[in-house]
Every structure is written in structure tokens, then in C-alpha cells.
């Protein structure tokens, strides 16, 4: 990790609140839905209907990277029956709306996840699952897993837990539906705009970089 010259963070000792705030500013990901004002009144009627339709047909590409993948069958099958919310599986990245990252990501799988994310078509949403994607979880000191997913691809909703139960997974989906309806979800455009920032972070971790130069889909 290269140090930010403007950062006031010391590495030793307990930092003050000011330093923590500065660290959060340095760290904060580029694509967030926080700043957007896009509620029902400000939307055109077509966009409102589009968002309504999108939120009820979520095709999920469950990329089973970690142990969290075991919760997906329970969520999809008859007891919790996620299909009543319009949530169902998609076969390929091109057909999917949601990329679901279930659990820890090693550097090896991160490379594949980025390729998969870039191949998905807009509008695309990312649902990160489990504490490993948030801060590394129990792999916080591993030599081979990343610790904060939103540095590498934009994330719409995080579901906390180790592991999150199907109830929390469905709650996360409902939060995403709410964001979609308000027009606050979907960061594909923001990712393209801030591609340099994301590429720099990705290349710090992925040593042998063999991605195509242009990202034009």
C-alpha cells in the first residue's frame, strides 16, 4: 500500500478521532449512492416505471467465492423462497443484473470477479455478502485475501454476518430493491468514470496484470 502524502495517519498507537475521520476520507470508495438525490418526485415517469420493473426482476449471478455460497440454496428453495421477490438465478454474467459476492475473495478469485463484473451489462448491482467482504472477517491477517471489496469494484449493499442467515440475505435484497426504486443503485457508470482509481487499486493486488486495455462494454 502506498502512503497518501496528505494523510495524517500515524501507524503506531491509538489514533485520535480526527485521524480516524481523515482515514475514512482517504479510504472512501468513489462510487457511493449517498450523494444522489433521485426520489420519486424528481424522476421522470418512464424512469420510475423502469425502476419499478427492474426491482421486481432481479437475476442473480451467484459467484460462490467463499463459504457463504451455502446460504444461497437455503434462500432460493421452498422455505425462504426468494423467488416471490422476483429473485432468481442467471446462467451467465451477460444475463445477470446482480453480482453476488459470497464471502472472502482471494487475489486469485478477485481477478475473475473483476472480469465477471466488467462483462455484466448495465444496470448492474453488486451485493456483498458476509463480514469478509466488509473488513476481511476472520481472514483479516491472511496473506492471500483482500479486506475491503469496495476498493476494487463498487458495492451497492453489504450484508453483515458470518454467515448471514437467509432472512438477512432477503433483507439485503429488499434494501437493494428500495435503492433501485429510488434510483440510487447501480454503479456501472460510476465505475467507468472512475476506472483509473479502481484500476490502480486492482493492479496493486493483482501482480500479473493481463486484462484488455480498453474497457468498452
Amino acid at each position: 500500500m502506498t502512503e497518501n502524502p496528505n494523510s495524517k495517519i500515524k501507524t503506531i498507537g491509538i489514533p485520535t478521532e480526527e485521524e480516524i475521520r481523515q482515514a475514512q476520507i482517504d479510504f472512501s470508495p468513489r462510487c457511493t449512492s449517498a450523494g444522489r438525490v433521485n426520489d420519486k418526485e424528481s424522476q421522470k415517469i418512464v424512469r420510475y416505471i423502469l425502476n419499478f420493473a427492474r426491482k421486481h426482476s432481479l437475476f442473480v449471478l451467484a459467484y460462490g467465492t467463499g463459504c457463504g455460497a451455502i446460504e444461497i440454496p437455503a434462500t432460493m428453495t421452498s422455505r425462504y423462497d426468494a423467488e416471490r421477490f422476483g429473485i432468481r438465478g442467471a446462467a451467465t454474467p451477460r444475463q445477470a443484473d446482480i453480482l453476488m459476492i459470497t464471502g472472502y475473495l482471494s487475489t486469485k478469485t478477485l481477478k475473475r470477479v473483476i472480469r465477471v463484473y466488467e462483462q455484466m451489462q448495465d444496470p448492474k448491482y453488486v451485493l456483498a455478502f458476509g463480514s469478509c467482504t466488509i473488513n476481511g472477517g476472520m481472514y483479516h491477517d491472511s496473506y492471500n485475501t483482500i479486506k475491503a471489496l469496495d476498493r476494487y469494484i463498487p458495492v451497492d449493499v453489504y450484508i453483515a454476518g458470518c454467515m448471514p442467515r437467509p432472512e438477512s440475505v432477503i433483507k439485503g435484497f429488499m434494501k437493494l430493491q428500495e435503492l433501485i426504486q429510488n434510483g440510487n443503485a447501480g454503479n456501472g457508470e460510476c465505475y467507468r468514470k472512475n476506472l483509473d482509481w479502481y484500476r490502480a487499486n486492482q493492479q496493486k493486488v493483482i501482480k500479473n496484470w493481463d486484462f484488455p486495455d480498453a474497457y468498452n462494454w
Binding site: M1, Q24, F27, N135, D141, Y143
Partner: protein, 187 residues
């Protein structure tokens, strides 16, 4: 007839090796590096230890040595033999035994990647689990995992002033932290 003692005598007669009994069904044999394959072949063909459970590696950084442990099992008598051997840590090289057991191939590939032990004649791609790894193999004890993780992967801020729950409770009640708990302290 005691099966284990019989095996101890047979190993002693064939190789002049002292086998120690560790448990009711477990033997330990310390072998020179060059003798490993012949002892394994003898145990497999003559004494019925036909199953290779595991090959593991121990990093004895103080002795500048690696220890390889071959764990083999006899399904008829339910006995286990652990074959220990020490190899040099500077130029670690060990005989390839995937002609005796096919599954040794996987363990040898893993040890080559995680400890940097070379197995001449092992026909496999260089990479097994890790990808684009440069630097010292990660399972060696001189590899500082925590330092590497902190340098390479960015940590989400916000938990820097997190306190140890045990210490906080001890301070509140005015007690001393017991010695065994001090090594887990955050400070």
C-alpha cells in the same frame, strides 16, 4: 502376538531403525533422508501399509531444517506409521515418491509451493494454489504474514481504537490480567 512389536522388530531387522510406539495403534520412525523411499516401499509391499494418509512439513527454523512426516496406514490391522525425516533448509530437496503413491503428487506440489521444497522429477505446473506469487513461500516461519497483509491489502478504517474486552473488564473491576491472557493483549 503383539502386532506393533512385530513391526518394530521387522523394521529393526531390515533397516536397523528404532521405531517408537506413540499410541496403541501408532508408530514413529525417524529415518535418514536417503532411506525414505526404501522404507516406504518395504512397509507398503511387505507389511501391508498400502494407504498414504498425508505428507506434512514442519519448519524447524531454529535447527535450520525442514521435517517431512509421511503418515501411512494399514487398513487390515488399523495401524499407523509416521515416518519422520529431516532435510536441509537452505537447499531443500527431497526424493519424489509419486511413483509409490499417486496421491503423493498433490502433497508434493503443495509443499513445493508453500515451503519451497524441490522434488526432482515431479512433473507438474509450478503454480498450484497461489497465483503470481513472488517472494518467500508463505508457509515458512520467516514469512511475516500479518506484516505482508497489512502492507499489501488496505484495511477499512474505524476500528483503530478498539479495546480488548478482557482488559477493559479487568480494569473496571480493578483486577490483574492473568499471565496466560497477556500474550493475547492488543497493546
Amino acid at each position: 502376538m503383539n502386532n506393533l512389536e512385530n513391526i518394530i522388530h521387522k523394521i529393526k531387522a531390515a533397516f536397523h531403525l528404532e521405531a517408537q510406539q506413540k499410541r496403541d495403534n501408532q508408530l514413529r520412525v525417524d529415518v535418514d533422508k536417503n532411506l525414505v523411499s526404501s522404507v516406504l516401499l518395504y512397509l507398503k509391499n511387505q507389511l501391508g501399509f498400502i494407504h498414504l494418509n498425508h505428507i506434512s512439513c514442519v519448519d524447524w527454523i531454529e535447527d535450520n531444517q525442514f521435517e517431512l512426516v509421511y503418515i501411512i496406514w494399514n487398513p487390515q490391522t488399523k495401524l499407523t506409521v509416521m515416518l519422520h525425516t529431516r532435510i536441509d533448509r537452505e537447499n531443500p530437496e527431497m526424493e519424489n515418491i509419486d511413483t509409490i503413491w499417486d496421491q503423493a503428487h498433490t502433497y508434493e506440489r503443495e509443499m513445493r509451493e508453500m515451503y519451497g521444497i524441490e522434488f526432482p522429477g515431479l512433473e507438474a505446473p509450478k503454480e498450484f494454489i497461489l497465483e503470481d506469487w513472488s517472494g518467500i513461500p508463505p508457509m515458512r516461519r520467516d514469512f511475516d504474514t500479518k506484516k505482508y497483509a497489512q502492507e499489501t491489502y488496505q484495511t477499512r478504517p474505524g476500528r483503530e481504537n478498539a479495546r480488548d474486552v478482557r482488559e477493559e473488564l479487568m480494569k473496571r473491576s480493578g483486577e490483574e490480567l492473568p499471565d496466560f491472557a497477556k500474550k493475547y493483549s492488543r497493546d
